[in-house]
């Protein structure tokens, strides 16, 4: 497990130029969303959380669709499957690495959101927690679907097509919770949304791990 995780981080470190490009893509999409609303500071602030998560979601498809790129070259995946470990270990290693990468991306996009939409907040720990849970919810099914679409034609189209309907609950809960953190939460509703995120993460981290064996077997 540790070795699988080390492999993923090494891969990500060697392709860090791609991570920077994905961040620039995310920041650019945040800039574009403000043009869709117009220069209305109050409205922008109101919708800041939604824009942040949409930007993160769009950028995540770029990260995820590339995530099995190295394994598919020179049939490296078959070599990895010959190792005396369960394929599940490979899945959890990759899903964890993807979560960390998306989390860093989310944390990097928060200042951009604060500057562009004037959506500052003092509840930094809770925002970090939401980003951690939300990106974990995106990357658990995202990693599995990425392994699936890597074996199909037209993978760039298929991944978002399969992933976006699935993560509606994650998007909903993350946006609501982030929004409450920015705009204030007098009724203490955010704990319910956080519980929903935890439940989604729990279900999909276990279910996708179970199903991954069947996806990569020949």
């Amino acid at each position: 497990m540790i070795a699988a995780l080390r492999k993923e981080f090494l891969l990500q470190w060697r392709t860090r130029a791609q991570a920077v490009a994905v961040f620039v893509f995310g920041a650019t999409s945040l800039l574009l969303f403000s043009f869709a609303i117009g220069p209305n500071a109050a409205a922008l602030r109101q919708h800041a959380a939604g824009f942040l998560w949409l930007g993160l979601l769009l950028s995540s498809t770029l990260t995820l669709s590339e995530s099995f790129h190295a394994e598919m070259e020179n049939r490296a995946l078959e070599g990895l499957l010959l190792l005396p470990v369960s394929p599940r270990v490979l899945y959890y290693g990759k899903a964890l690495a993807n979560t960390v990468q998306l989390m860093l991306l989310g944390i990097a996009l928060v200042p951009v959101m604060v500057v562009l939409y004037d959506a500052g907040t003092t509840r930094i720990p809770i925002v970090l927690l939401i980003i951690a849970l939300g990106t974990a919810g995106i990357s658990a099914p995202g990693t599995l679907y990425s392994a699936m679409t890597a074996q199909a034609r037209a993978k760039q189209t298929l991944l978002p097509l399969l992933l976006f309907p699935l993560i509606v609950p994650v998007l909903l809960a993350s946006v609501k919770a982030t929004s409450l953190a920015i705009l204030g939460d007098p009724m203490d509703q955010s704990s319910a949304w956080l519980a929903l995120l935890v439940a989604f993460d729990g279900i999909y981290w276990s279910l996708c791990g179970l199903l991954f064996d069947r996806v990569v077997e020949d």
């Binding site: 034609r153 037209a154 399969l162 609950p169 609501k176 929903l196 439940a199 999909y204 279910l207």
Partner: protein
């Protein structure tokens, strides 16, 4: 394999029975049953909408079961059923959204509302459409069967979570109609139409699974002997 079925005429019989039930049920619903007190004539769409909803749920459940069965047995007849269930489920989901929109415009004043039931139907419709697209882009039959079964299971598990999360978010849709909640004059057309769509749907699924099965057996078949001889 389903390619050589035991009852070759069964789907046609089911579909005929379904059409007959639907015709009688719709006649009763449109001309015999009294209009509803508050909504008036618009309410008559219930006679197709509610049966479609029940059968849509059955189709989704069937597809989910077939996907699990495929992963456990690796028998291609279940893959054919998954394909049939996905297509019929997507069709019924689409019909459900259209009927709902036609009913909602005069009743709620909007075509669409972000209600849990509407949203989860739409989400599942998108997922099924995505899985059908996935099936077109994987050429190897075994791979295609495994990937679409896995995707079907993941999408079906998502359904209750979507429903639950959207219910927290917003709710407007009325409680489900069932024979217990509607007046007895509405029962007969509602039940007839429900069985009509059930028979029609079963016929569609059986026939579609047979087509999928025949295509699969032609994909999996060894090349014809004379061709092998020519190549050698």
């Amino acid at each position: 394999m389903l390619a050589n079925p035991r009852f070759p005429k069964l789907p046609y019989a089911l579909m005929t029975l379904g059409v007959v039930c639907l015709l009688i049920g719709s006649y009763l619903g449109l001309f015999v049953a009294p209009p509803e007190h508050y909504m008036g004539e618009v309410q008559r769409i219930m006679y197709v909408h509610v049966p479609t909803a029940w059968n849509w749920m059955l189709a989704v459940l069937f597809t989910f079961g077939a996907a699990i069965a495929y992963l456990f047995t690796s028998d291609f007849k279940w893959d054919a059923r998954v394909e049939a269930g996905l297509e019929v489920g997507a069709l019924l989901g689409f019909l459900l959204c259209c009927q709902g929109a036609i009913w909602a415009k005069p009743t709620w004043g909007v075509w669409w509302d972000w209600d849990p039931r509407l949203t989860s139907t739409a989400v599942l419709l998108c997922s099924f459409a995505g899985i059908l697209a996935l099936r077109r882009f994987v050429d190897e039959p075994t791979k295609r069967a495994v990937l679409s079964s896995v995707a079907t299971i993941i999408a079906s598990v998502d359904l209750p979570i979507v429903y639950f999360s959207v219910r927290w978010w917003n709710s407007l849709h009325q409680m489900q109609s069932s024979p217990a909640t509607v007046s007895s004059q509405f029962h007969l057309p509602l039940r007839l139409n429900a069985f009509g769509i059930l028979f029609l749907m079963s016929g569609f699924i059986a026939l579609r699974a047979r087509i999928a099965s025949q295509r699969l057996s032609s994909e999996l078949a060894p090349p014809p002997q004379e061709l092998v001889g020519e190549l050698a």
